[in-house]
Amino acid sequence: MFRHGEKIKKLRKLFVSLLSLIFITGFAVTSNAKVLVVGQIAEPKSLDPSTVTAVNDFRIVMNIYDGLVRYTDGKLEVEPALAKSWDISSDGTVYTFNLRSGIKFHDGSSFNAEAVKFNFDRMLNKDHPYHNTGPFPLSFFFSAIKSVDVVNANTVKFTLNEPYAPFLSNLAYPTGLIVSPAGVKKHGKDFGRNPSGTGAFKFKEWKSNERVVVDKNSGYWDGKAGTDAVVFRPITDANTRVAEMLSGGIDMMVEVPPASLSKFGGSKFSIVEQAGPHVWFLILNAKEGPFANKKVRQAANYAINKQAIVNDVLEGTAAIAAGPTPPAFAWAYNNSLQPYPYDPAKAKALIKEAGVEGAKLTFYVTEGGSGMLDPVAMGTAIQADLKAVGFDVEIKTFEWNSFLGEVNPGLEGKADMAEMAWMTNDPDTLPFLALRTESWPDKGGFNSGYYSNPKVDDLLNRARSSTDQAERAKLYQEMQEIVQEDAPWVFVANWKQNAVTSNKVSNFSLQPSFLLLLKDVKKN
């Protein structure tokens, strides 16, 4: 018995020392000064910019690749990038780009006009040998392109079917980033896992669910990056992401949950904010049910307390939306537009007028998704507001992809309202894809609520083909007024995107384009 007791004592000692060993190593982990760790909201789908659609993926690819043009720092205006300059034909259908010379892709191959042609042909031409490396869901951004021609090694000519105002802006979008043709030829379908561009960082490794690492591209044409490397860590759970940020596991995180912003108030962190072209709205089913009546749609706009949602639920990380176009598109925004005030009494009156008191509504809510902010909480708050004016709202929640599968084909026969949010690069995109009669779901658009106003259709078509920005602005502003009055949506919020960085990080700013540019960021 005694001998046995001694054995236990020895074991205990061993155990204690083992434990302390483990904990001591824990304190030894310190961060490397020159590596920036970014907390991402999800695992990227691919690092082939032509194939991805999520902002989360854009945040990485923007740092690996360059486009012909890019957005000016802090603005939504286009400036030269891989193209030094360009000419636009007077009818607005031919764009000729003069390319920078001597630029190499990370894999060593050269960037030239052939590479540009390869990129767009791959996306647009079904017979291109590498078209099968797609699908390219956003290729319709460039559907106006008739042909891409190599004039000489440093000159490339785009011919469009018709004048298309957002063309340059779309080129600056991640879908327009230029990938290495040699890389695509080498890796084929797996190019997305072995990306090669001309950007400030070059791809180093991608470990599933762990990290994507990019190294400084020391030969970058536009000056060297401020850090040796950037690590993108996918941390899907917002809470864990916040915890990692607090404990120093990451240097920077984007899309900070509003509720946890208060944790980052001290001097150890800094919060960066930037409004961007984002609008969060409710699609109302204008084809059938109570919302077929304009008065009821307006009533919904009056009934919802946007102030409470924006200030409380979203902790001030968003502003009230007045109409379909976000104020971030300053030149196209109608400043005279006033948001629908919170007026439940008026809402009730309108509902009574329309004779749909106590109607039962089905409301599609998503659990989360690109730009959706805090959709369940917002949906619940909206449900409560509508209940207050006499609507019986039943919420159905869906995971993001199922949600899109339900909503994009149209709400007819299924729901009366659905949440939605868009982040775009041009004032044209959202209304053109989601408000025109021609963009009803059965015609291949995203007008899931079946809104139709010939006047709006006309305004949008004209704005798109004009190359004069002042004229476009006028058309868009008129459109906004009509749409606000027609209320096909409930206009809820414009997001101010945010990010938190540790105090070691400097020279960081968010872009209104929602893209994450890390080249100039330094870490001390």
Partner: protein, 620 residues
């Protein structure tokens, strides 16, 4: 039912769990009647209020809803879901399990393969897929949780059913003309019901956790409806800043599940017959000794047992198994202890080295002097030194008394190593020598065999060899041949007799068979109802029993050579062990010579002729 509640309330933790559950049930099911705020009313300006804020006892959530109200409504829903899920999967699972277990063969094979398939599938993914198919919602989550738990029930119930289906009463029912269906309903079901109840009670908590898990993944209840899982999911997004929104539902889940578990354990214990028999209490290495008085024992015999009284303690009552047993064994003597079941003979034998399982066994009186030292006054280490060394045992059924998973050789060596602190080499030599001694052929083979690979006779020889390991001076053989066939019995008895004589061993030989005892014992003690009723030389007792019990018992043993006939009998059956104090002769009720005063007072053992007898009117 009252009995059942009593059993449960005996277990304090279960009672605590039960009370906890009752409170949670009552409060949450009364929530519609309680003066609570509307759980769905949003007041975003009051969001994230801490517990004990004005107007909000438990604070508010991210939309400013009253947490207390949501908690109670949510608990109500979660309980409903958990219990319904448990009931659904229990019903379907039990039906499948019963069918598979009862019909066996192909039916069993097909059902169990399907169950295997479902079990190999990570259940949470299966549940997830089912919810994805059915669409989100608490009801669908419940269906999914119920479905994925069916295999668990089916497997459990199948196992129990197989055991029951092989019981003799099922054959008996079949012989009573019952169809398979009726057998399942009337014979099997009542027997598996307790298992189902126990399984349900222990899985409800698990189901609540699982539903919470699905809600955590966002597939549970739809807003604004509250259930504990979705509350936890909602709270989680603000865990770091406002942890109370997670703590509140988390704590409730914890309380419910711990309540269910404690109460479930209580139900399990109450329905488990082994517990009431004390079978799930750890037996101490030495019988509990609580001597009431100091028994004087001046005997200088080799072994002297004086006034040994051993009892079983149930419900704080002492059931006396052996009463005031006194006897001596001389060196080299073989003493037989004979009696029917419940006569106290085995308890007496085990009490000598304090081997009666305790609890429930207690030695309440007596003295056991072995070579001058009182064993009942020794400490554990001293007793252990005696066991298997100077005093060793041979037990009845060698299949259950030999360790099933240790090779014969290892088991033989063990006693040697424990007592001699010597290494394996000597122990092996000694062990093989002993196997030769008990005339085991093919020693090497047997050495490396497991007990189940040997025949009953071989096993008992191994037991004898094991008992002889440390050259003991006393061997206590407790019905060593009862489980054996007659032909084997004869050989074992002959072997024992030879060894004892060769080695001058003292033997205490316990048996119920007069034939066996008379063949090898020098002296015989007859026990009845825990007492010695007669003692004397074997030939005297066999030829001239004095006690009416002894004589009547000997008469009703069927002997060969008398043909088909009516046998002499003893009326009634042997007394069972009870805590009641009975005065007088315990055999009186069955005795043919009973007189009025037999029950008046305790009867002392007296010398009559060559024997000692506990009887007022012994045979002449």
């Amino acid at each position: 039912m009252i009995n059942f509640l009593k059993l449960i309330s005996r277990n304090k933790l279960a009672l605590f769990g039960g009370i906890l559950l009752v409170i949670i049930f009552v409060v949450s099911f009364l929530s519609p009647l309680l003066p609570l705020k509307d759980p769905d009313v949003i007041k975003t300006s009051d969001r994230f209020l801490l517990p004990f804020s004005e107007g909000y006892l438990l604070g508010t959530d991210h939309l400013g809803r009253d947490l207390l109200s949501r908690l109670l409504w949510g608990t109500r829903l979660s309980l409903l879901v958990g219990i319904s899920a448990a009931l659904i999967s229990a019903t379907i699972g039990s039906i499948l399990g019963t069918i598979a277990g009862f019909y066996g063969n192909k039916t069993d094979n097909v059902i169990m393969r399907i169950i295997d398939v479902l079990m190999a599938f990570p259940y949470i993914l299966l549940a997830l897929a089912i919810v994805a198919v059915l669409g989100p919602g608490l009801f669908n989550a419940m269906i999914a949780v119920a479905l994925v738990n069916i295999p668990f029930f089916a497997r459990n119930i199948r196992g129990v059913t197989v055991t029951i289906a092989n019981k003799e009463f099922i054959d008996a029912a079949r012989l009573s003309g019952m169809s398979n269906f009726k057998i399942i309903i009337y014979e099997i079901f009542p027997n598996i019901l307790p298992v189902i109840v126990v399984t349900i009670s222990t899985t409800v908590g698990w189901m609540i956790l699982e539903t919470a898990g699905l809600s955590f993944l966002g597939l549970g209840s739809q807003p604004p409806q509250a259930d504990l899982g979705s509350m936890l999911g909602e709270g989680r997004s603000s865990l770091i800043v406002n942890p109370h929104t997670s703590y509140v539902p988390g704590a409730m889940i914890f309380l419910i599940v711990i309540g269910v578990n404690l109460f479930g354990d209580g139900i399990r214990d109450a329905l488990d017959p082994r517990l009431s028999k004390g079978e799930l209490v750890k037996p101490q290495p030495v019988t509990q000794i609580k001597l009431n008085k100091n028994v004087k024992n001046n005997s200088s015999s080799f072994l002297s047992v004086q006034n040994l009284t051993t009892a079983f303690e149930f419900d704080n009552k002492l059931h006396l198994a052996s009463k005031d047993v006194s006897f001596d064994i001389k060196k080299g003597e073989c003493l037989g202890l004979i009696g029917e079941s419940g006569s106290g003979k085995s308890v007496t034998a085990l009490s000598i080295t304090c081997l009666v399982a305790s609890p429930p066994g207690v030695i309440v009186d007596g003295s056991v002097k072995f070579q001058g030292d009182d064993i009942l006054k020794m400490n554990y280490e001293q007793i252990r030194e005696l066991r298997g060394n100077k005093i060793s045992y041979i037990f009845q059924d060698p299949l259950s008394t030999l360790h099933p998973l240790i090779k014969i050789g290892k088991q033989l060596e063990e006693a040697f190593i424990e007592h001699n602190h010597q290494k394996n080499k000597e122990a092996t030599l000694k062990g093989k020598e002993l196997l030769k001694l008990v005339q085991i052929p093919n020693i090497e083979n047997v050495w490396n065999s497991y007990p189940h690979e040997l025949s009953g006779g071989m096993r008992q020889r191994v037991s004898i060899a094991m008992a002889l390991t440390n050259d003991p001076e006393l061997i206590i053989a407790d019905e060593p041949t009862t489980a054996l066939d007659v032909t084997v019995q004869a050989q074992i008895l002959s072997l024992l007799d030879t060894l004892r004589k060769e080695r001058g061993l003292s033997v205490l030989f316990i048996s119920h068979d007069f034939g066996v005892v008379s063949q090898i014992c020098d002296r015989v003690i007859v026990m009845y109802g825990g007492q010695i009723v007669e003692e004397g030389k074997t030939e005297n007792i066999m030829s001239k029993p004095r006690h009416p019990y002894t004589s009547q018992l000997m008469e009703c043993v069927p002997h060969i050579g008398f043909g088909k006939r009516k046998l002499p009998t003893i009326l009634g059956s042997p007394p069972s062990i009870t805590y009641k104090k009975e005065i007088g002769c315990s055999f009186a009720s069955r005795c043919l010579f009973k007189k009025d005063n037999c029950l008046n007072e305790d009867i002392k053992i007296v010398r009559k002729g060559d024997s000692e007898v506990r009887c007022l009117y012994p045979h002449e």
